[in-house]
């Protein structure tokens, strides 16, 4: 008996089988639902326009890199990526820089009007970009910032700063106040304490906030398209304009789409271990 029981492991328990199967089926179906549309985009990006329109196929018959060549050799195309990444990074840095001290204030102190201020900040996350599109256009035109990267970066702080404050505040609340007090007793000045001691403690929170700023700035189109014409035009906007002008080259359109997915995919890959906590905004 003792000899036969050697071979048992928890995984072979027969009673747990049916449940495990259902879970796996659901998960596989859901991931397929997630991936098939992306696959379709990738598939078409490797086809010539003629092949796409010529007949329905499940995979490329003559895979080609021509579409990618078009994009990567034409500066009016690839500058779109540069523009997008420029204003996304500017926005992320700007949002974090102002959100960090504010979140600290909200997490540590009570002050006149703090609760109202916090809610008012959050309301900006709720402001529909459509409402702001036209006023932004007029505002930035009047101060001469129209069609610059900083204009888009500033516009996107509208929804990214409140979000960053909210996320960071959640993470900061998790840091015991005694740490601040000890540092002050040890003679740290506020800026030095904040940078040397406090920021490393909430590093994962800063990472998560940066991820969200990057994400929402990267995916937004309405504002970034309204505020740019040529010099700072984001890739997403170039996609819609160029393509409609040149009579819909599906292959190039799909290749451009695939290229917009890549930065996001890279970012996700790097933060994959923090995603779950980050999505709960530090409140789990």
């Amino acid at each position: 008996m003792a000899v036969t029981s050697d071979t048992y492991t928890p995984a072979t328990r027969s009673i747990s089988f049916p449940k495990v199967q259902t879970r796996h089926v659901v998960m596989v179906l859901y991931l397929l639902f997630m991936l098939v549309p992306i696959y379709w985009l990738v598939k078409m990006s490797f086809q010539t326009n003629r092949e796409i329109l010529g007949g329905f196929t499940l995979w490329p018959q003559n895979p080609t890199l021509d579409n990618y060549r078009v994009i990567l050799t034409d500066s009016s195309w690839y500058m779109g990526y540069v523009n997008s990444i420029t204003y996304v990074v500017m926005n992320t840095v700007l949002s974090l820089a102002v959100a960090l001290p504010a979140a600290y204030a909200f997490s540590r102190y009570r002050f006149l009007g703090d609760k109202h201020l916090f809610f008012w900040l959050l309301t900006n996350r709720m402001a529909p970009p459509a409402v702001f599109a036209l006023p932004f256009f007029q505002l930035y035109s009047s101060v001469g910032l129209f069609d610059t990267h900083i204009a888009v970066a500033l516009a996107h702080t509208l929804f990214n700063v409140p979000l960053a404050v909210w996320i960071l505040e959640g993470f900061m609340r998790g840091v015991p106040k005694e740490i601040d007090e000890t540092a002050y007793i040890d003679g740290y000045s506020f800026p030095r304490f904040f940078v040397k001691i406090f920021m490393p403690l909430i590093a994962s929170g800063i990472g998560v906030a940066a991820f969200f700023c990057f994400m929402f700035s990267w995916v937004e189109l309405l504002l970034s398209r309204t505020l740019t014409a040529v010099n700072a035009q984001p890739i997403a906007s170039i996609m819609t304009r160029t393509v409609s002008a040149s009579g819909l080259d599906w292959g190039v359109l799909c290749a451009a789409g695939v290229l917009t997915i890549i930065p996001g995919a890279l970012v996700i890959y790097f933060v994959r271990n923090y995603i779950a906590k980050g999505f709960a905004l530090g409140r789990v």
């Binding site: 008996m1 003792a2 029981s5 050697d6 048992y8 492991t9 328990r13």
Partner: protein, 368 residues
């Protein structure tokens, strides 16, 4: 209710354990008698929680079997084993009322409503929560929540065993005493087999009929509190039980004489020649401080007064050695030697106790 047999049991958290050190729980054969109260005592990480989870069926052992009575339950899950368990941290269903929490295990088994109500009343009275039966469990203190957990563990009458996994960790000290007394009373009344995991020796010794001491994945001794005190089977038991623990001194043993760094110590029995690392162990309670030529020369470091007795902290050959003196027993001002009650000395070879070939006198425990 049934007796629980662990047959040739071992467990490793690794899928392919290589050597002995990969096992969290090393080879174990043991029978838990029906209706007895056991304490499973050991430092954290010694494998006691692993053992408990194997008994409760939350973990399937890598090797060996578990029997409840004559029934092999090794691969049965928790529900089929019909046991109750109380965890270290309170597990309470927040959205339910206190009463619903207590009734939950009974209702899930389709018990009659009148019986459930009566039983909940009885348990609530026992844990002192009749007043708050209709309150939501959310927002209660950790103490109160843990009392609910305890109540839920005891609400079923037909369980094979009730397992407690350090249940009083989060409870206030004065409540600890009260709850432990209640548990003990409950055991006397219903006669459930209880297994109580703890790292606190006071808890273990006051709760249990028999104490199982674990060390490094192994059961080093099973015995009554007296046996653990008088004849620790392993140096760990000597060190872990008692406050301060047993004095252990390197020695060479021949016949009924031990030599510690050249000084002779008379033993209570005769021993055969011993191999390996040999130590003699004596509890501080059986150490006397004297002056003169007899005994081991020591340097007294300090004397702590802890109420009913004094602890004398001293050094022998650079290693700590302690003595406990009753309050009022004078310590000679020029005390520089310690002598041991010979029949209280245990001899250890490679940490395991060696029984004497013949003992001179039967040890009688004296009150300390």
């Amino acid at each position: 209710m049934a007796q629980i047999t662990l047959d040739n049991l071992a467990h490793s958290y690794l899928p392919n354990p290589k050597g002995e050190e990969d096992y969290a729980l090393k080879q174990l054969d043991h029978v838990w008698g029906d209706g007895e109260a056991y304490a499973l005592l050991g430092a954290s990480g010694c494998g006691k929680s692993t053992l408990l989870n194997i008994i409760s069926g939350l973990l399937v052992p890598s090797r060996g079997r578990i029997l409840f009575g004559d029934r092999d339950v090794t691969h049965q899950d928790t529900v089929e084993r019909n046991i109750a368990q109380v965890f270290q941290f309170p597990v309470v269903y927040d959205t339910m009322t206190v009463g619903d929490n207590l009734a939950f295990p009974l209702r899930n088994r389709g018990m009659d409503a009148a019986y459930v109500a009566a039983r909940v009343q009885k348990i609530a009275a026992m844990i002192g929560m009749e007043e708050v039966l209709n309150r939501k469990a959310r927002g209660l203190t950790a103490d109160a929540k843990q009392k609910i957990s305890l109540g839920r563990g005891m609400v079923r009458e037909d369980v094979n065993a009730i397992l407690f996994d350090e249940p009083l960790t989060v409870i206030d000290p004065h409540m600890k005493w009260e709850l432990r007394t209640q548990l003990k009373a409950l055991h006397n009344e219903f006669g459930h087999t209880m297994i109580y995991v703890t790292h606190d020796q006071t808890e273990a010794l006051t709760f249990a009929d028999k104490v199982v001491v674990m060390h490094d994945g192994r059961v080093v001794q099973l015995g009554t509190p007296e046996e653990l005190f008088d004849t620790p089977e392993h140096t760990f038991v000597g060190y872990f039980i008692g406050s301060p623990g047993m004095n252990l001194i390197e020695a060479e043993v021949a016949g009924n004489l031990a030599r510690c760094a050249g000084h002779a110590v008379r033993l209570g029995g005769t021993y055969k020649a011993l191999q390996g690392r040999v130590q003699i162990g004596v509890r501080p309670e059986f150490v006397q401080l004297v002056s003169g030529e007899e005994g081991l020369p020591v340097t007294i470091k300090r004397v702590e007064d802890v109420g009913r007795h004094q602890i004398v902290r001293a050094e022998f050959q650079g290693r700590a050695i302690n003595a406990v003196q009753l309050e009022g027993t004078p310590i000679p001002a020029d005390a520089n030697r310690m002598i041991f009650a010979p029949e209280r000395i245990n001899v250890y070879a490679d940490d395991w106790r060696v029984a004497p070939l013949q003992s001179v006198a039967t040890p009688q425990r004296e009150a300390v």
